[in-house]
């Protein structure tokens, strides 16, 4: 009798405070999908967020996380910032797998939905990135680098042809190659350098709260100028984090540099 009682007590204790066991990423992902399928959105989000915290950087996991947030946003108990977090997850997926056939249209549709919801509360603001960032973003960093390398090779070949060419036409061709190649090397090289600097000095992040108010370094709200309100960043908007200090991020949003709380944005993971 005593033994039975002891076993029962042990079982109860084990049930009431069971030690947690570690899961592999694959198992955790499968469990998250199962939770998502049965409508346990919070559970799915918790599992997928834990995966991200544990350093699993994967486009599929990001898409699943976006799906979980969208499912909760559509449920009877949505949480503020669900759409922003979904946008962050989709942006992350696109960063990891550019041109993803699911993530790209979904992100566009989601941003349109966010804009539609916020348009009821305030005027929509179109914020363009800085000219330098916009030009640099035309091509990927690697493509800038490859084009610069080809241009450099052209210059080298031009020098050879100019020196060794027997006919006047050949030597003229070499001269043109040297001139054009030098200009392109300079241009593409600058693009590659700028892309590398932007990548190293800033990280893309997405606003995950319904509205993030930009502040100055001293914590005071950014003074609002005339016209459209550019002192608040809407949900789902992409900003670039340039500095971290005391739980705050210095972000670049359009042509504005200001501070946001770290809880208002989510930095996109990259490999």
């Amino acid at each position: 009798m005593k033994r039975t009682l002891a076993v029962l007590v042990c079982l109860l204790l084990a049930l009431s405070a069971a030690p947690a066991r570690a899961e592999t990423p694959e198992v955790a992902y499968a469990a998250a999908l199962a939770a998502l399928a049965k409508g346990a959105h919070n559970d799915a989000i918790d599992r997928l967020e834990l995966l991200a915290d544990q350093g699993v950087v994967d486009a599929d996991a990001s898409i699943a996380r976006a799906a979980a947030y969208l499912a909760r946003a559509d449920s009877a108990s949505p949480q503020p910032g669900d759409l922003g977090r979904a946008a962050a997850a989709l942006s992350e997926a696109l960063l990891l797998r550019p041109g993803d056939p699911q993530a790209e249209p979904a992100l566009e549709a989601l941003q349109a939905e966010i804009a539609r919801r916020h348009s009821k509360e305030r005027d929509s603001v179109v914020v363009r990135p800085r000219l330098g960032r916009a030009i640099t973003a035309l091509l990927s960093e690697q493509l800038w680098a490859i084009l610069a390398a080809i241009s450099s090779l052209t210059v080298a070949l031009g020098v050879v042809v100019r020196r060794l060419g027997k006919s006047g036409l050949l030597r003229l061709t070499g001269l043109v190659a040297i001139g054009v190649g030098s200009l392109l090397t300079l241009g593409f090289g600058t693009g590659a350098y700028a892309a590398e600097q932007l990548r190293v000095s800033s990280q893309p992040a997405v606003v995950v709260v319904p509205e993030a108010r930009l502040t100055q370094a001293n914590g005071r709200p950014l003074p609002r100028g005339r016209g459209a309100d550019t002192t608040t960043v809407p949900e789902g908007a992409t900003v670039y984090v340039r500095e971290r200090r005391d739980g705050r991020y210095l972000v670049e949003w359009g042509s504005t540099d200001a501070w946001l709380s770290s809880s208002e944005v989510r930095i996109l993971a990259s490999r």
Partner: protein, 640 residues
């Protein structure tokens, strides 16, 4: 600040510190308490007024009406604040505690107060308190050391000259007595290796120093006085930014003081503040900077006293490990918890609701949220919270009940699942999950149409969700992407090095060619000069001109030497010439012949009629040819 430390605080801070954002109607509560209902004439006792308000409210200076026969000092005012979250709503309450030190001058029954305080809603008054004052010596003596202390007479008499001294404790005047009584054992936490200051000092202590976010750190501040009795002056609270704090001495009506001897000096010490701190973030966080003024004859002539501060302590706070972290764990949920739940009723019509009461109890800063099960047709509303969390034996513990209303919409027997709370058990250094199974509920009747379908804004989100179909399995981890070319220094070296190398290569080749041509031209000019010199020698020898023959032969030989070895032999002593030529690679015999011929040139120039000029000319030509042959070989080998 509240509790015993509050009773030391001097100065007013009400008007400047208590600005709160909420502008709701003030709900002010007042509580008055005295340290003793029965006191002796001449002995000090305290009266404390606690004021708290649950809304944004300014609290002004407190006031106390005293009857004749009672004199007082103060008030010393401390501030306190509390945050509670109920049903998802955060409520801030603030308050002050004002403490007066009182002394009765004659026996009798006295009515103290009522104490009052000015608020923005007007003057608020509490009840009066009645005390009985008895003649001196009527009450039993206070206990021996480790004894409670009157905060306004803190440590007075514990060995200080001129003070009466606690029974059983010698004053400094008694130190020469033949058999001083044994001092009581000083608790470990008070012990120090050496005094930080010869007069007085504060010491902060935090245990433990390395914790995870949400784990309790016990911060204690001790006062040490080395010049006998003192009265506390202005005191600040210990700094504790980035921590959630529970005052562990809130209910301590009296402090416990000790005295001990160290390095030949008698010290008095007492713990003046103790907080349970829960770090809110990771990092190197600082806490424990606190100041206190020691007022007394032995400390400072300044009536404000001798100010001393404790050094802040750095506490290393980290997050619990990611390995093994259960899903749904919130950073900061640290402790050891048990979870139980009650569900009522067990049968409900579709569309109706049941009550789920979950009770979380244990040690640690109890979390405000639990993980509720998510089931189709089962909807947990936000819970109502009832809590009792307090420090016991230096550890924050208690319980918090979460009362949920759960709506059930789908008929049938519903398995509710379980409520869980993942937490980090700091003592076991492992994660745990507190669980409470909810069992089954029978839902009768028929399902009602879902209200969610009609919710605005949900259609588009549903459409978005349909765009995403997560992959059924997590793909294999992709190979690490190589870093882009621009992040590699070799890329930039190649980018600019390639055209530069081509350009410089051709430029260097051209330069080499030019130099070679110039060298050849120079060599050609030496040959001509040598031939001219030899022709002049032949002509001079034929005409019998000795001096001209000597000059021409010497010139031809020097040119031949320069052609063969690049050595300008005119600058070399003739005695050293063979050795230099040999060093330059000319055969020893030939070098000797060259030197001999040059010597004969000198002989010819000064006394040379006896020489056969034709033979001399022939020999000179022969030597020049041999040097020339060597020169040609050297040039050929150089070109090869």
């Amino acid at each position: 600040m509240s509790g015993a430390p509050a009773r030391f605080v001097a100065g007013t801070l009400c008007s400047c510190a208590l600005a709160w954002t909420a502008a709701a109607r003030a709900d002010v509560s007042l509580t008055t308490s005295v340290s003793a209902r029965k006191v002796e004439v001449g002995s000090q006792f305290t009266l404390q007024l606690r004021v708290s308000t649950s809304a944004g409210e300014e609290i002004g200076s407190p006031d106390l009406k005293l009857p004749p026969g009672i004199s007082g000092s103060g008030p010393n005012v401390g501030r306190q604040s509390q945050i509670s979250i109920v049903n998802g709503q955060m409520t801030q309450s603030i308050g002050i505690s004002a403490t007066w030190g009182l002394v009765a001058s004659h026996p009798g029954t006295f009515k103290l107060g009522p104490a009052s305080v000015q608020t923005s809603a007007g003057v608020k008054t509490d009840r009066a308190v009645t005390i009985e004052v008895v003649p001196q010596g009527s009450l039993p003596p206070p206990p021996l050391a480790g004894q409670p202390l009157d905060p306004f007479n803190m440590l007075r008499g514990m060995g200080g000259p001129g003070f009466p001294g606690f029974p059983g404790f010698p004053g400094f005047d008694d130190q020469l007595s033949p058999s001083p009584p044994q001092l009581p054992e000083l608790p470990e936490e008070f012990k120090i290796a050496r005094p930080l200051d010869p007069l007085a000092f504060l010491r902060a202590r935090a245990v433990p120093r390395k914790v995870v976010v949400g784990e309790q750190v016990t911060l204690s501040v001790y006062a040490y006085a080395g010049r006998g009795s003192f009265e506390p002056g202005v005191m600040t609270e210990p700094s504790r930014d980035d921590f959630l704090a529970f005052n562990l001495m809130e209910d301590a009506h009296q402090l416990t003081g000790y005295q001990f001897d160290l390095e030949g000096q008698r010290w008095i010490t007492a713990k003046i503040a103790q907080f349970a701190l829960f770090p809110l973030k990771a990092g190197k966080l600082k806490a424990g900077e606190m100041s206190l003024s020691f007022v007394g004859r032995g400390y400072s002539k300044d009536p404000k006293g001798l100010k001393r501060s404790s050094s802040p302590i750095e506490i290393d706070v980290v997050e619990p490990p990611l390995a093994g972290r259960p899903p749904g764990y919130h950073v900061g949920d640290v402790g050891h918890y048990d979870l139980t739940a009650q569900v009522e009723p067990r049968e409900v019509p579709a569309g109706g609701s049941i009550s789920v009461v979950a009770k979380l109890q244990g040690t640690g800063n109890l979390p405000f949220t639990l993980l509720v099960p998510e089931r189709s047709g089962v909807h947990f509303l936000e819970p109502q919270l009832v809590e009792q969390v307090a420090a016991k034996r230096g550890e924050v513990q208690g319980f918090r009940t979460f009362t949920y209303v759960v709506e059930l919409s789908e008929p049938g027997e519903q398995e509710l699942g379980e409520i869980t709370l993942p937490y980090w058990d700091a003592k076991a250094r492992a994660y745990g999950v507190a669980r409470a199974a909810l069992g089954k509920v029978k839902v009768t009747g028929t399902a009602k149409p879902s209200a969610g379908a009609a919710m605005p804004g949900t259609t588009a989100a549903g459409h978005l969700r349909s765009l995403l179909t997560p992959a059924p399995q997590l793909g294999k981890a992709p190979a690490p992407t190589p870093s882009p070319w621009p992040s590699r220094p070799s890329y930039w070296l190649l980018l600019f090095g390639l055209p530069l190398t081509a350009f410089l290569g051709f430029a260097l080749a051209d330069l080499g060619k030019l130099l070679s041509q110039r060298l050849s031209a120079r060599r050609g000019s030496l040959t001509t000069a040598q031939e001219q010199a030899l022709a002049q020698l032949t002509a001079a020898a034929r005409s019998g001109d000795v001096a001209a023959s000597a000059s021409a032969a010497e010139r031809a030989l020097f040119i031949a030497i320069e052609r063969a070895t690049s050595l300008k032999a005119r600058g070399v002593l003739k005695t050293e010439l063979p050795a230099r030529l040999a060093q330059a690679g000319v055969a020893r015999e030939l070098a000797e012949r060259v030197a001999g011929l040059l010597g004969r040139c000198d002989e010819l120039r000064f006394a040379g009629e006896a020489l056969d000029l034709a033979a001399f000319s022939g020999e000179t030509r022969d030597v020049c040819q041999k040097l020339g042959t060597r020169s040609a070989r050297a040039a050929a080998s150089g070109e090869a």
